[in-house]
Subunit: 207 residues, 2 copies
Amino acid sequence: MPGTEFDVLRELVARRRDVRRFQTRPIGSDILDDIFHLVEGAPSVGNSQPWRWVQVDGSEARAKVKSSFQAANEAARKAVPEDRQGLYANLKLAGLDEAPLQLAVFCDTQTTQGSGLGRQTQPEALHYSVACAIMIFWLAAKARGLGVGWVSILNPSDISDCLDVPASWDLIAYLCVGYPEDEHYDPELERYGWQDRVWSRHHVIKR
Amino acid sequence: MPGTEFDVLRELVARRRDVRRFQTRPIGSDILDDIFHLVEGAPSVGNSQPWRWVQVDGSEARAKVKSSFQAANEAARKAVPEDRQGLYANLKLAGLDEAPLQLAVFCDTQTTQGSGLGRQTQPEALHYSVACAIMIFWLAAKARGLGVGWVSILNPSDISDCLDVPASWDLIAYLCVGYPEDEHYDPELERYGWQDRVWSRHHVIKR
């Protein structure tokens, strides 16, 4: 039974995880429609709405994404201090084999929507708008029982190439989406010994 | 009376606006503590938690921020097609004079937290983590009755200079925070004739 809006949001944020362990059962299209409708209310600089969602269904494209992940992940493992390489290798860092829905999310850097308002001196605000929309997607998915995993261990140009998107679209995120195997409050990287979280709530600097 | 988690989130997102019209009354420190505590649950690449919040209270710093905004805004107005310059000039694009709380939010690009995990091939994921935290802040503030306005019409280096932060910190956002003058569902830029929003919910491309 939810309490105030703030209580509901706090609980949603606390249970939101970066999910890598998915069930393979599919997601109903009505659920996805609801989520995307909510996501349209995300903020964007000058109301530019620069997010572009590409649903990656094809087996060839998925294989290429996986191959990009594997190469980047192996390089990353080798770059870790030797005594932590075993620990790194045991982390599950993506749900690419199981997640029924996979979304590549791009920023259309050439969009005319918004007439450039608000992004003359800080053009990267456009990219941050897409990150904000992804955050809303993540919470909305969680509120419908879904987990989201953000895979950043890959080469963005590999993804753009295999999905054949315009050169002016920058990859912001590759998302795995599906029903999670389980639900927990502690992050995977904490649970599997990579590191603890820092609780630093009073670290607002004043000037 | 809230419904499901999804209903609560949908309503929160629908009423979230980029606010430029603030009351000047201060925000209780207990409210801010609650919000920042919630924000610590934001996702970040490799749990790097790279956000750095600087509360801008000093009158000298505030004057410099305002001056950076004014210069960037005047340049932006001149770059707009002539027949829209009057419209642009009439938009209120920041609440810098009224907002009782102002926060410069930075990304610490040299943080060792997370040991670099997840950001070898897509280092900008660190910046996107900060944008995600800002989105959570925005919703949490809204859930406590506060409005947030993201001011991107300024020169990031002006802000970094006047706040004397480390060179490795990149400015992600300058936020005005306070109780809004009023609450509405339509974005300011729609309400004041700059442009309509696009509703494109079914525009997920499949590959």
